[in-house]
Symmetry: C2
Subunit: 128 residues, 2 copies
Amino acid sequence: MEKNLTNTQQIVLNSLEKSDQPLGAYSILFNIQKKGIKSPQQVYRALDKLIEIGAVHKIESLNSYIACKNKNCDIKKSTSFLICEKCKNVSEINDNNLTDEFSKLTKKSDFKYATHNLEIFGFCKGCR
Amino acid sequence: MEKNLTNTQQIVLNSLEKSDQPLGAYSILFNIQKKGIKSPQQVYRALDKLIEIGAVHKIESLNSYIACKNKNCDIKKSTSFLICEKCKNVSEINDNNLTDEFSKLTKKSDFKYATHNLEIFGFCKGCR
DNA sequence: AGTGTTATGTTATAATATAACAATTTTAAT
DNA sequence: ATTAAAATTGTTATATTATAACATAACACT
């Protein structure tokens, strides 16, 4: 199950795992330049792969990327996040019911569910 | 309830309403250059306002914008879309239950729901 | 070893979005 | 009505995010 990552992919993933918050591609690049990564292309290519295997998710509304904390995340392509509007903290929801609910919901519109991105904005425990 | 739009805002809105599909800001700009709109800034400022009043929504994963068909849309800031992966058709879901469901869901995490963006990918009636 | 395929490095450029400031219009107080 | 302050708009420049294109290298199969 564990994928072997290339050097660059591992460096990008480490950078994201060290951060508790999502990072933009160019922030990642800045972080890892000292390790010999020189171009955006290298970062984006690594991100593509990491996203594909479910190790990283993209948060579309922030144009940024976050490591999936969830080791057993069987949701590879769908993402669901809570984003605090005050402190900007982002946390991943791991509610497998969502897939079922969306699947049911979309049937009403004769739509065959495949994946989803969900971004919920509001205020986290500490900020409300 | 009806907002008065400025000339530029109305032109941008018309451009989106004429399109059945979402448009990027620069596509809009291209469409309306013949009407004297010259710069991205004008388009983005109009979009900001139109989004604020709920006349237009942004589809984050596509970096594009769509007119809200739903005249009585009381959901101003939240958005929910079905996106067909084959024909790229986008349609808006208008299920007010979603807000309630997300509100309940996030309570479990001690999170105070405010708004959401939901993008569901799959295959539409014609493409499945 | 030779050849086709896949991955990586590198440079350049495309696509999306905002900053900064000047010019104009609107507002609202005197 | 006059004018100062505030908000809106026009315009140029630039920042930010992402991909194209092509060269080079690594891999794998015969």
